[in-house]
């Protein structure tokens, strides 16, 4: 029998909260996000659907409908409105949330810059997806990297456990720094995949992330009137932007600090320190650099290559903004080859992360650094492709960007 999409989802929901053992649950990535958001207790959730983000906002809608979620849940008429609505709510001093990706994220762009410039601690999940044209609903990471200059902290998770944990870190950072944070999870690869995860308890969460209480005089309040979003002339604009730039840059240290707190409360870590995770880099001749779920495939490929005595390692970037130069270089400096694996491309240039690594590595290493583009528009990335990259970077005498597994 062929089920229609809706029937299929309803039939499947019973498996969605299947318990594995006493502590771990077997959850779909999107459902895990909705669960952690419920526990984080935003006051206002705005929603607008776009594949593959939909399950997140649908699950939140169900929680609202059942009374499990106490937040205001508002269906908007566009992502632009959703982001604007959160801006207004955040400016009124409450915790906020939405999720989007791809066309939706790009539609939000003007508001995203605005939220950061106004120093509002909005948190969103981006279910990373390719960008049109051609229209394509599958995963790559073009959407978020395209707005990397907007002033948001941008965190990338490899597994659904990391995605859960990054949301906690995101709110903690956002509310202390008064800066917006975007948690990036690969569309479908994470959003629609069931994995065993540990869902933290409410008490633990409250310990790490107490209820949000912004300082008086920083939000819209009739008892303490403030003007937010005023006009800055050439006399003041540059200083305000400089401060924003510095605060974001220095937030690396705060990520490390809160990561230590996180470990104490939850007993696990997010990569090495919330910024990066090194995997078998110590003696590596070739180091791959990547972000997101593809790191899982890369780790498997590395394990197999290591069995064949190939000295290969991975540096996983968790925090793309701020970009923690020192942390990154520390692990890369001794390698002979650095292969940067991007699921996005700055058209007319090369992989976005590749450029970033080259900048950070300037004068810090003699390694060959090369850009490899994989998995655009949802093309599978396999262990064989990772091996191909290792082969290519050694053999290729040029420094040119390679498209992996893509016919001419």
């Amino acid at each position: 029998m062929i089920l229609n999409k809706l029937e299929y989802r309803i039939k499947n929901t019973e498996y969605r909260i299947m318990k594995l053992d006493n502590s771990k649950q077997f959850l779909e990535g999107s459902h895990a996000v909705a669960e952690i958001i419920k526990l984080i207790k935003p006051a206002v959730v705005a929603a607008y659907p776009i594949t593959p983000q939909t399950h997140i906002v649908e699950d939140l809608a169900k929680m609202k409908a059942s009374g499990e979620g106490g937040f205001e849940y508002i269906n908007t008429e566009s992502e632009f409105a959703a982001a604007s609505l959160l801006l207004g709510a955040s400016a009124t001093g409450v915790r906020t949330y939405t999720a989007t990706c791809s066309q939706g994220l790009l539609l939000m762009t003007e508001v995203l810059f605005n939220i950061a410039g106004m120093r509002l601690p909005v948190v969103i999940t981006c279910a990373n997806r390719a960008v049109s044209a051609p229209i394509n609903i599958w995963n790559d990471q073009q959407d978020a990297v395209t707005i990397r200059d907007a002033g948001w902290l941008m965190l990338y998770g490899e597994t659904n456990q990391e995605i859960i944990d990054l949301h906690l870190l995101a709110y903690k950072l956002a509310e202390t720094l008064r800066l917006p944070v975007m948690v990036n999870m690969d569309g479908f690869v994470l959003t629609h995949t069931y994995e065993p995860v540990l869902m933290p308890g409410q008490e633990q969460i409250n310990k790490f992330l107490p209820p949000y209480k912004p300082a008086i005089g920083t939000y819209l309040d009739v008892k303490n009137p403030v003007t937010l979003g005023s006009l800055a002339t050439p006399d003041s604009y540059m200083e305000i932007r400089k401060q924003l730039a510095q605060d974001i840059y220095l937030s690396s240290d705060l990520i490390k600090k809160y990561h230590t707190d996180f470990k104490k409360v939850f007993g696990r870590s997010i990569g090495d320190n919330g910024l990066v995770e090194e995997y078998k880099t110590k003696d590596a001749e070739v180091i791959l650099v990547a972000m997101g779920s593809v790191c899982g495939t890369i780790k498997d490929a590395i394990d197999e290559m290591r069995e064949r005595k190939q000295k290969v390692g991975l540096l996983k970037i968790i925090s793309f903004r701020p970009f923690a130069d020192e942390e990154v270089i520390k692990h890369l400096a001794k390698a002979k080859y650095i292969a940067v694996v991007d699921k996005s491309i700055s058209l007319g240039s090369e992989g976005v992360l590749a450029t970033e690594i080259k900048r950070a590595a300037y004068n810090q290493t003699k390694a060959k650094i090369q850009s490899f583009i994989v998995g655009l528009g949802g093309r599978d990335v396999t262990k064989e492709m990772i091996e191909q990259i290792i082969f290519d970077i050694k053999k290729d005498k040029t420094n040119k960007m390679h498209f992996i597994s893509c016919t001419d």
């Binding site: 206002v44 508002i74 604007s84 709510a89 819209l220 009137p225 002339t233």
Partner: protein
């Protein structure tokens, strides 16, 4: 009538940088005074924002936020949602405001969304019939044949080729609980309409025709006069709509002919002293006559 307030008692403090005689600033001050100090404002980009909030100064004595040109409606929705969670939504007025460019054009979709959600927000449009802040380009509220910097009249142009959108009717079609139009020619009416609007719970739309001194090409002291003439010619109907009924401000006496109004603006100067212009004025008279009939203004 109450005597003049001390300027420092208004909720918009003196010292803004708008043009002398600006109809919008005057109207905005009346609107806010009528709303009272327990008001939170979401403001669009435009003259009102630019002239009142040069960092680090502000004219606003109530909490006020500006985000972008097109989104004060959605920002206001967010404010209201936050107030609901704080249990303050019943005691605080949420006011969203913007110019006609923001309202009729670029922010239109978001306003429709706000109205659809039936949120208890008062939206005020200060209609200068032109993008004032960027130098008087045409908007969806620009009247037929007006000379704007993007609709210059010349051999092949009579000025703006389109009849303006009717936002008031669009608001009514959305099921707003209170819809009204007035002009900066009637300060007491502005206050009354705001107060009346605030007796309703739900989406409310108030549009105020506000003279733009340089954009219309009139003298500094003419804002109020122009507001009155727009009404008395039938060019701009002044009405309220609530409980399924229109309540109209009748034109006192016989409606004036539209050229009484048009001839005072530099933006309509090209309509005078030539045959083409005569035809155009006839068409504008026709629009005014239709308004008079439709809204029963006589």
């Amino acid at each position: 009538m109450q005597k003049y307030k001390n300027p420092n008692q208004h909720l918009i403090a003196p010292g803004h940088t708008a043009c002398p005689g600006c109809g919008q600033l005057m109207s905005a001050r009346l609107v806010l005074d009528a709303c009272g100090s327990k008001t939170i404002i979401a403001n669009a980009t435009g003259c009102l924002e630019v002239t009142t909030t040069k960092y680090p100064t502000s004219s606003w004595k109530v909490p006020w936020v500006h985000s972008l040109f097109e989104n004060p409606s959605a920002v206001a929705s967010g404010i209201l949602a936050a107030l609901k969670q704080k249990g303050l939504d019943k005691e605080i007025t949420v006011l969203a405001q913007g110019g006609d460019g923001s309202t009729f054009d670029i922010g239109f979709g978001l306003i429709s969304g706000m109205w659809e959600r039936k949120e208890n927000i008062l939206y005020v449009c200060y209609n200068t019939e032109v993008y004032s802040n960027t130098g008087y380009q045409a908007s969806g509220a620009t009247p037929l044949d007006a000379n704007t910097t993007t609709t210059p009249p010349d051999k092949k142009s009579m000025g703006n080729a389109f009849i303006r959108k009717n936002m008031g009717e669009i608001a009514i079609a959305h099921g707003c609980v209170y819809v009204a139009q007035t002009t900066c020619g009637y300060p007491a009416d502005i206050i009354n309409k705001v107060k009346k609007a605030l007796t309703f719970t739900g989406p409310k739309y108030l549009e105020i025709l506000t003279t733009c001194i340089p954009g219309w090409g009139v003298e500094n002291e003419m804002a109020v006069q122009m507001g009155k003439l727009a009404h008395k010619t039938g060019i701009y109907p002044v009405f309220e709509y609530y409980d399924d009924e229109y309540h109209v401000m009748k034109i006192p006496g016989e409606p004036l002919k539209v050229d009484e109004y048009l001839k005072l603006h530099k933006r309509f100067k090209h309509l005078f002293g030539n045959e083409r212009g005569k035809e155009a004025i006839k068409q504008i008279q026709n629009i005014a006559d239709k308004n008079i009939e439709k809204y029963n203004l006589k």
